[in-house]
């Protein structure tokens, strides 16, 4: 196995459609001043809808507020005209 694929294996960020961002691997979650934030599991879901009651983690509230993240089918078309 090459070094590149070994390091790709170590950490992964999964962008979940209409939902949180899953982070898996070896990492720390810290405040802006570097204090570790409470963390009790290896793989975490980070809220990106802004509505969770347990931020920075997701609590499923994104489903209640109908949070949508669809990627445009053709990203080029979604950009403003140049």
């Amino acid at each position: 196995m090459s070094n590149l694929s070994a390091s790709e294996d170590a950490n992964a960020i999964v962008v979940c459609p209409d939902g949180p961002i899953l982070v898996r691997g070896d990492f720390e979650i810290v405040s802006t001043t570097g204090e570790p934030l409470p963390r009790t599991r290896r793989t975490v879901a980070l809220c990106r809808c802004g509505a969770s009651t347990i931020k920075p983690y997701c609590d499923g509230t994104h489903k209640l507020i109908n949070f949508r993240t669809e990627f445009p089918a053709d990203p080029e078309k979604a950009l403003p005209d140049r």
């Binding site: 979940c16 290896r42 609590d59 499923g60 509230t61 489903k63």
Partner: protein, 343 residues
């Protein structure tokens, strides 16, 4: 676990037989005949106290066993035949009553989106809202007693599936289960957190202690998971079951926690619920996309069963909530009358 009390002819024949040492050519033909008769005459196998208890005891031989029952009964051919008879009637009944969505997505994002859609529509009576706002102190006990049948062995039925899965689906199942089992810390196992909650309310946390008090429907929700988990051919259904279970967990657990806080219980008691708010928001993503979706990508013919397993949780757990809330609305207990203590 302690051996439950019989609820009718089938469970009483079975429990009597289990008191004997196992032998070949034993009396299981009498048991099989009695099961056939009961299956032919029952109004509803899902709500049949006697048949659901018998099935629960048969599965229990594969979990922690029954006190004072010889371990060799677990693989006794006669008992396996008895289990299959009840199982197949139970499965047929569920398949004929559980509605399936029309869509047939074949990629993992599509499967996850459909499962989120299916579980988001769930419109049954809301146990979590009732517990949050209205449940009395006694009703909190009842709520935990119903849940204790599963939660004291939380995650075990889905673990059966691990050797039957491959690749992405297997890795997803193991990742979820490792978290359910506390990530190597026994005191953080979800079953251990649930036991802590029970003790906090003064309930007995020994596994199976309250089986005699719960109705057939509570046993049926457990038997369904065991059936999906233990039968390799139903691995699609157990994957769908877990996905739907996780997808309907975070928000209800937040409300359950609120109900216990409303009665003045501290964070030791609500730890179990608080933990699920965060854990299941992670698990639902992995279970929907990597477990259920990954399984469908590698074995597309299992899609139907994935959807069946998911929809079955919503349906059967919905019937149980209806039963419990129906009793509570009338000021009655949702449990079976308690049996006199043996002298």
């Amino acid at each position: 676990m302690k051996t439950p009390l019989a609820r009718g002819p089938v469970s009483s024949l079975l429990l009597d037989q289990l008191q004997q040492p196992p032998s070949e050519g034993d009396g299981s033909s009498v048991l099989l005949d009695r099961i056939r008769l009961s299956l032919a005459t029952t109004a509803d196998v899902v709500r049949d106290e006697d048949l659901q208890l018998a099935l629960f005891c048969l599965y229990e031989l594969n979990y922690s066993g029954l006190d004072d029952v010889d371990g060799h009964w677990e693989w006794n051919p006669g008992l396996l035949g008895a289990r299959q008879l009840i199982e197949s009637a139970f499965e047929d009944s569920l398949r004929s009553r559980v509605p399936l969505p029309a869509e047939r997505p074949l990629d993992s994002d599509g499967v996850a989106a459909l499962l989120f859609d299916l579980t988001g529509k769930d419109s049954g009576p809301s146990m979590s809202r009732f517990v949050a706002k209205r449940a009395t102190r006694e009703q909190l006990d009842e709520f935990l007693i119903h849940k204790s049948i599963y939660q004291l062995k939380e995650a075990d039925p889905h673990t059966w599936a691990i050797p039957r899965l491959n690749g992405r689906a297997k890795a997803a199942m193991v990742e979820i289960q490792a978290d359910e089992y506390g990530g190597g810390r026994p005191q953080r196992m979800h079953s251990a957190l649930f036991a802590r909650t029970m003790r906090g309310l003064g309930l007995d946390d020994s596994y199976g202690n309250y089986v005699d008090l719960v109705p057939a429907l509570t046993l049926a929700t457990n038997n369904m998971m065991s059936m999906f988990g233990i039968n390799r051919r139903l691995r699609g259904a157990i994957a769908g079951h877990l996905a739907a279970y996780e997808m309907t967990s975070s928000q209800p657990n937040r409300l359950y926690g609120n109900g216990f806080r409303r009665h003045g219980f501290d964070d030791q008691v609500t730890w179990y619920f608080d933990e699920h708010v965060e854990a299941d928001a992670v698990h639902e993503q992995i279970a929907g996309r990597d477990l259920a979706g990954g399984l469908v990508e590698s074995e597309p013919e299992l899609l139907e069963d994935v959807l069946f397993g998911a929809s079955a949780v919503l349906t059967v757990d919905g019937w149980l909530s209806e039963h419990i809330l129906g009793c509570w609305e009338q000021g009655q207990s949702s449990l079976r009358p308690s049996v006199p203590e043996a002298a």
